[in-house]
Amino acid sequence: MSTKERRPISHVPDVAGNGLLDRRALLGRGIMFAGATAAGAGASLTGAAAEPLKDDPWSLTMGAATPQRQEPSRFEKNVVRTLSNPNNEPRNSHARTPHHLLQGTVTPAALHFTINHSGLPDIDPEKHRLVIHGLVRQPKIFSLEDLSRYPMVTRMGFLECGGNSAPMFSNEPFQGTAQALHGLVSNSEWTGVLLSTLFEEVGLDPKAKWFLAEGADSLALHRSVPVKKGLDDAMIALYQNGERLMPGNGYPMRLLLPGYQGNMNVKFVRRIKLLDQPSMSFYEAKTYSQIIPGDRYWKFHFLQEVKSFITHPSFGHSLKGPGFYEISGVAYSGTGRITRVMVSADGGKSWGQAALQGPVYPQAFVRFRMPWRWDGQPVVLQSRAWDEAGNVQPTRSEFVAARGETQRPVASPLAFPNQHYNSITSWGIDSKGEIKHVYA
């Protein structure tokens, strides 16, 4: 690379207010940050003098035994899910993904969010069966071994609870991490058998317009899904990030409906019944039919609509003085690929386009990144996403105008005032570098 292309960071142009820099600075397309050696200490924004080097104890002795299954370093013990029901009282249990402590796009399986409505069933995979019946030519039953012999597909896909981000329905900003606000979404690589393949086996009656999927959990939780989705991209998922599904994510098999409300992606799936009408199960009739302003109610929301949020920096972090930071977060949409993410550092007055870390998959997380030079003054960071279907993430005021907000502040992330929240999230950073959740 020529010297001419090595431009010091102070020469990277601002693209929006409060120090947002050109995203191409991150992509090596002609603009490089100055290293300490290239431009001298004066151009380095984090160039404190280092201590002389020495060997630490771990560099002077043989390390620990190699385990069969690796665990994270003991120094990463705080990278865990937050639990709503740690003592497994007879009710549901939520576990939220710590987005503010993760990077990239793949959620480690152990940190994938889970909502279990009656604990974790201890399912013997040898005995588990999937039956497909109802409006079909020939009802059939499949073992895990049967399904494992079918042609499989692998795809990236986010899963999001319809109640994710629900604390943001609060009329005052709920103070919590990205984990508390948005921890009920995660992203994995899923492998399994397309449902359309199994539909071919049983032969659909033309009258079949819906199917219900039912789990082997003690509630026999079930949801109705249009056959249209079943024939499009629905999957009986057997693997998550290359290994068998985690128990909390539906071991040994679950329905995967890319881009659709998490609860519909029925875990431990044991029965699929083809129907001429929706069954109006408890969850679709109550929890996921939400109240909208004006004494009206929505049903069959299905889609998890376009959303993004900044994970770095965010609530729970603090900035250690002015200088360079990379702003980054995740964006995803139930209606296809993310095409653009814009970032603002001045509460939405001006916006700069973030870099998207490819490849960008449909109905999956994409990581966005934005170089930023913080001058130490108060700022409000926001991200806003667009998808290939032309949908744009709403501002909070646009969202509230359409969907309303609570009359009193929400006190707990377990409150779920309503469902399907997807507006912009704002992080306010004060001059000390402390971060709060704000509405802007």
Binding site: V131, K140, F169, L198, P278, F282, Y297
Partner: protein
């Protein structure tokens, strides 16, 4: 049939045969009859499809409720244990976070179905169908959706007029 046309038809058979072979599915599942699926085939539909035989009244449901449901959902469906849902509330949903109970459901079959498949929470699927009809009737009557002496069965329960029926809007019709 001439030799030529016989050969042609043999050739066609070979081609079609090969085509059929390619379109074959792996065929790894086992056939099963609807009769053998019955123990799992618990769903009931809004129009009454698959409602089981049996019946129950509010008076028959009250003692079953008191014994098996009140510990979580509260006496007469009110004042539930902390963390559990009441089953009785007015059909008033003028706030986006209004409490939803049975009065929110569009169809009474939803109530029957969830009791039959999921309740009692710690001992699911232990109620008889008569008991499920009776407890459904009791909860509907507590909410004043049916009368105190109404009998719930496969014919009457799906016809119960719920207070919110007809108020639900399909969010994304093109997805159905």
């Amino acid at each position: 049939m001439s030799t030529r046309s016989l050969l042609l038809s043999l050739a066609l058979t070979a081609v079609l045969g090969a085509g059929t072979a390619l379109a074959e599915t792996p065929g790894l599942g086992k056939n099963i009859t609807e009769n053998d699926i019955k123990p799992w085939n618990l769903d009931v539909l809004p129009d009454g499809t698959n409602m089981p035989p049996g019946s129950g009244t509010p008076a028959q449901g009250a003692p079953i409720y008191a014994q098996k449901c009140a510990v979580c959902h509260g006496e007469k469906g009110e004042k539930p244990a902390p963390g559990y849902a009441a089953l009785v509330s007015p059909p008033k949903f003028d706030r986006i976070d209004a409490f939803k109970s049975v009065t929110y459901y569009e169809f009474a079959t939803t109530l029957f179905d969830v009791i039959r498949r999921s309740m009692p929470f710690t001992t699911p699927r232990t109620l008889t169908d008569n008991e499920v009809y009776a407890v459904s009737a009791y909860i509907l009557s507590l909410n004043k959706i049916i009368g105190e002496n109404d009998v719930m069965d496969a014919q009457t329960l799906p016809k119960v007029k719920m207070p919110n029926a007809g108020k639900f809007i399909v969010r994304f019709p093109d997805r159905i």
